[in-house]
Symmetry: C2
Subunit: 400 residues, 2 copies
């Protein structure tokens, strides 16, 4: 086994657990960073290419967002980490002064690159795009840039270097994200490689560690309980600041929630836990109850681009504004959100903008959806603060 | 000749000339409407389908915009005037509480519909899309809806009815907009038909006139001085609130400015004059000097969608952010505009967003461009207020 730092200190960071739920592993906490403190459970909104699609940072703030995630893979390809560093880092580059996280880039390479598909990891079948050329434990992943076809490489050392240059508060160790189609043997070997990559990530992180960033380890192990537990133990044994849960979380909701249930007792109890790429309302509730502190997903802005407005209590958690029943609906989306996007415009107007292909609508719906998810997280925190019933809140949000 | 109202009163509207330029026909004025008073010269930003592309009304205000125009033709096709009326009219529908104008719909039908092309009217050659089936003086224009292929009709009575339902402060008489390819004979006959349509528009307008709207007549006559003068005399002889100048304004800048020079002495001297569809910076200066009070054009938002930022003093009046020289330019677009879109982001970031196809960039550039044109109009008004030199200001704006 390669060497790894026995300990790392994160003087500018902190995680405090302020309250615990009586009936689940849910916990109220706060995470401190050089860019401010956020309360947890919380949602990290995805700004893939250094922008949350269609929204200014000020619009994110107005909608109640606390934290943003950007994708190392995409920024590595374009505009490149050196350019972002030269422009003062990701916060300054995109104009967001709150906490940020970058992922390791592994998820995109393995899920987009092998044709295994990001969707499959969440249980939705296969996609066909292949840009991954080769995976090699030492060299890492060799892949083709979708920008210009040039050959790129990402391994633990490169990922940590890229993430250092991007300059988010939180960075994530390099890992391989295994798809659902991976069998036990592949999943186990891949997990063990991810652990070795975790050690290399920590070593690389330590070399330039200056207190401005903190690093998360990643729990892999697919759908296999003993592997998940082994991976949880691995991350707990290393001086990561936080724990991220990644990889395939099962093909069904039931399976997903079962996998989550294995984790709370094995994860490092004093570290913040981030559930990677999960953001549906029902999944957030189950995640919170399993001790997850933060979530990220493209759902709020992607749903907006499909004409959908997230809505507390609506069947499925959203309404589809393309539906002709909204054609002459004079009601706004939700006046109680305190947001012009949700209060100024009638559903009829939003329906019209969608039909007319007018881009303002994606701004309206994206901001509304960010505000709805931000409110969801606020209400979850308030319930934990007041010793309330999370299951009751879950019922209010999901009418089914 | 058909009957027409001998007089119309506009108790809720006003136009006052506050100062005049010593060296041109330029004038400082103010236009009062039920939705507020604006100073002139001013720019009416185009919100074609009841939205200025990519911008919230609040973002328009923040950028200094005073007035918005929407297109009768597009709203007639979708979502339809009855729906807009049911939703409380255009102001409420789109959330803009300032003055608004709708055009007659004629421009789109004739320019988009015959394949003569909107561009050709401004001297840029032909386009090929044909949706116009037939023009008939009595029935009006029969055309095919681009939405569903259904057969639509627009004549003076329908146009005024549609514009009444849309409910903008200012409406425009139905006219035929002749292209550059029209010869003198066609232009003359068309102009005479437009005059008769003007009378029918006034008659239709009077029937439901309730003081909430005011109507503009349109000067046609193409590139022929005697026809332009005859058309100016026609509009001055009718009880229109304002005068709009439409139709082909010549194939070259020199020709355009010559046509403008014929008008100041023949237009009704106490009415506001709107120059339809013109919005380039140099053309605005020439228009102002010819006594034009308001302008409209899609330029600010369309240029944004091509990656261009309007800029005082830049060659051609803009910079193209797609240009690789901006790749690592840390400067914002223009910090002096007092706008996050123009001050928060580096040109390098905007270049990145354009390269990445990220939609936020169209919001940033659109708002910036609206702010630049709004500043241009403010500076023109300040120059007129202070008895300054418009030609000097024009030199500052256009470096060539």
């Amino acid at each position: 086994m390669a060497a790894f730092p026995q300990s790392l200190t994160y003087p500018n960071f902190g995680f405090d657990i302020l309250a615990r739920d009586q009936n689940s592993f849910a916990r109220l906490g706060k995470i401190s960073t050089p860019h401010g403190t956020i309360e947890t459970p919380n949602f990290i909104f995805v700004g893939t290419k250094a922008t949350v699609k269609n929204l200014h940072p000020a619009q994110m703030r107005e909608a109640g967002a606390d934290m943003i995630l950007s994708n190392t893979y995409h920024l590595y390809i374009q505009p490149g980490p050196d350019l972002v560093q030269k422009m003062g880092g990701l916060h300054k580059f995109m104009g967001w002064d709150g906490p940020m996280l970058t992922d390791s880039g592994g998820f995109q390479i393995f899920s987009l690159g092998t044709g295994s598909g990001a969707d499959e990891i969440k249980g939705k079948g296969k996609s066909g795009n292949k840009s991954l050329i080769r995976i090699d434990e030492q060299d890492g992943a060799i892949f083709k840039s979708y920008k210009d076809g040039s050959i790129c490489r990402l391994n633990p050392e490169i990922s940590m270097d890229v993430q250092r240059k991007l300059g988010a508060d939180f960075v994530v160790q390099m890992d391989e994200c295994t798809p659902q189609s991976a069998d036990r043997d592949y999943t186990e070997k891949s997990m063990q490689m991810s652990h070795r990559w975790g050690d290399r990530s920590l070593t690389a992180f330590e070399q330039t560690h200056d207190g401005t960033q903190a690093v998360y380890g990643v729990v892999q192990g697919g759908v296999y309980r003993d592997l998940r537990e082994e991976s949880a133990d691995y991350t707990a044994s290393r001086p990561f600041f936080g724990t991220a849960v990644g990889g395939c979380l099962g093909g069904t909701k039931v399976h997903f929630y079962e996998i989550l249930s294995w984790l709370p007792k094995r994860l490092h109890p004093e570290r913040p836990v981030h559930l990677l790429g999960i953001g549906k309302i029902e999944d957030i509730f189950e995640g919170v109850k399993s001790g997850m502190d933060t979530f990220d997903c493209v759902t709020p802005t992607r749903e907006a681009r499909h004409g959908r407005a997230l809505m507390k209590g609506a069947r499925g958690g959203f309404i589809n504004l393309l539906n002709s029943r909204f054609k002459d609906d004079p009601n706004p989306l939700d006046e109680t959100l305190g947001l012009a996007s949700s209060a100024l415009y009638s559903r009829a107007y939003i329906h019209h903008l969608l039909k007319a292909g007018e881009m303002l609508v994606f701004q309206i719906l994206s901001q509304h959806n960010v505000a709805v998810i931000s409110r969801l997280m606020r209400e979850i925190r308030a319930t934990l603060k007041n010793g309330g019933d999370l299951n009751q809140l879950q019922k209010e949000w999901l009418s089914e």
